[in-house]
Amino acid sequence: MIIDGLIEGLSNIVDPVLLGLMFLGVLIGIFVGFLPAVSGLLGTALMLPAIVGMKPLMALPFLLALHAVSYTGGSMTAILVNIPGTGPNAATLIDGFPMTQKGQAGRAMGAAIASSSLGGMLSVVFALIFIPIVIPLVRLLYSAEMFFIIIMGLSFLAVLAGSSPIKGLMAGGLGLLFSFVGFQSTTGIPRFTFGSVFLLDQLNIIAVVIGLFALPELIDLATRRKTIALCESAGIGGWTDVWEGVKDVFRHFGVFLRGTVVGYIIGVIPGVGAETAPFVAYGQAKQASKHPEKFGTGIVEGVIAPESANNAKEAGALLTTLAFGVPGSAVMAILLGAFFLVGIVPGPEMLTDNLGLSFTMLLGIAVANVMAGIVCLAFAPFATRITKVHPDYLFPVILVLGLTGAFAAGAQILNLAVVVWFGVMGFFMNRFHYSKPAFLLGFVLGMLFEHYFWHALNLQGPFFFMRPVSLLIILAIVLIFVIKPLKAHFRRASRKRPITEA
């Protein structure tokens, strides 16, 4: 049956009309991802009226193509101007922008585009292989397990903390605190809102990221009066640099592969959030690296890890959305609406009776990633020229783009105040060396941490951690953080022994 579905999916996907429509979706996706003012979420929502009346076989791959590649476009602005095009691109700017400052924008973009496109394609292979076990696997995960998965993500705070672990933890704690603004999810009680209706919702991540990362950088750009690429002797970043970035993905294939696996797994788990995957992938890459101290200074592994996870999570998220109708992210929620709009009702039968359509969508993600990779690689050498533009011209453009992006994220004018607030915070965090990535990880996972904790406690009782699957995840967390120091310890011990013996 799976083979039949695969053959049907393959024959559907080579339809020239569908390919043309998907290419259009890819172009729109890259464009909306590239512009922080629009974002993939808004782009997908804006396209909803366009699919009314279309056949599901045309409409759904078109929307998926648009959505799946918006992160590829979003990485470009993160790397070039420190503004993530979409929320999940926030992890890319930690190393992407410093690379640009070092004059390696082309290389960073090549690595980002290649890793996100290849990650997207590889995750489709994972999805096809794991279709039979995804549903039983997801059914094993209760709130307790979700809580420990979030804990696993939060434990990377220690990795993202930077040179001072105490300051890193403080920044992470502050991020957690800011994530609690708004309605408490299980009681509906508003917190830290000061009577403001605007603050009832959680603070918008795009506005927070633009404020925290882009605004201090803009102030710096304006006062420094030098181009973004600090290294004057560096080239603009032509084809050679971009190609170098592509080759980097194969040089650091382990980082890429682990990032893709992390992205796929987090994508499959409903309710963990789209922003979680790239941060966990980044933290994991840093933790496993032989030179973790170089992360954050502009190294290519710091771009490959989050970008490979970014697109990889989509194939996983699609499977869960199809099987359970539970969207893993805000965009998946819109896509879920699109399914109903064209008369498709998600359910496990999508992975049994409707396999043809499901495979068409999955293969559509792979094809869209190929298309996006080609388009973005062709565009990258031109985009990197922005790094050599004089700040007098660049400053107003980036400022307007950033502020419009913050406004468009939820169409709330007060998001501009959020940008300014976090801009000031970002400025002081830079000055006093508090880790902004640690803050962001705390902010992204804080709400989920609290949510799943209360659910686990209320649904499974105070001994919720005693479930076998929970114990396995706890063991995995311990192993992740114990193996490396243990290995280092034994290595040191084995080096010392011959000396003492001598």
Binding site: G337, F340, V345, E349, L459
Partner: protein
Amino acid sequence: MKNDRSVKSIRALVMFTALSALCVFAGSMAHADMAEFYKGKRITLIISSRSGSSVDLVGRTVAPMLAKALDATVILKNMAAAGGMEGLNYVATTAKPDGLTIGMRDSASCYLNQLMKAPGAQWDIATLKYIANIQPSPMVLYVTPGGPIKTIEDLRKAKGLKFSSISPRGWMSSVITGTMELLGLDGKMVSGFKGSSASALAVSKGEAHASAVEGYTLQRYERKGQARPLLTTGAERDPAYPNLPAITEIVNAPKDSVALFMAGLPSGKLMFMPPGTADDKVAYLADVTWKIINGDEFKTEFMKRVGTNVWKKNVTGAEFAKLAKEMVARKTLGKEMLAILQKHRS
């Protein structure tokens, strides 16, 4: 004498017919005026819910049909911030009452948020103008398929039940806690699940024992093997589940029982206009919308998009306005509902 009486009756009949004709004529003239007013205009349909939600889907179904009927442009705008209250707040407090702004939201959320004084709720359901409430439906209680609870009696006997729900003060929570109160169930409601699908997934996995949802959505969950329907919480049996008893058949609660009110709350997709909108505009739009939502085209599209084979009665704007006023008149209703919610939630 007899002749006089018959002459009088004939005269009265003529007068009545003439008056009726005059009313119909005046009405049609007013309708003609209104038709002229809306021709070529731009109407904004504010969806007080996110893109892709069920309210949004119904809004996207109605909008083009409304545009065609009015020969106008209908623009959809999602305003879902503040837990979905943004759009309703906007229509109630900021939008001009010029007849060109229509709001849309789940009807139950409109009055529950106000009655229970939800933080951020700025509207008054007694002052809004109503066009129609599309396909209001009560909820159906369901349990884990293959679990130990197979009958209502099993449910009543069970200890430490856990019900999954979405918003802590929303419609689902109100229905669940009302039902728990009426049936005297032992357990608690755990809210905060992100959507009815997530709540259903928790029940199907056995993480929670039970939950509630509209009949047509439950049909989908049942097809997926995620739910075992047990009881219609409304006053009457649900056409989607004609064999399931309604809660009124099981418990003997007084008609003004707050718990019965909470459990039996139906909710539809409510279309409304800003307070102060001219009555003739509201009446005209209500009339046009009524024809649309009872037409075959809408019926077919609605059933296809929500994935059901069941069609229920729509409610007119005037009927809903009456209901809204009655609810606001029950001064202690909100407090009593909150007390029941507090009692049964975790």
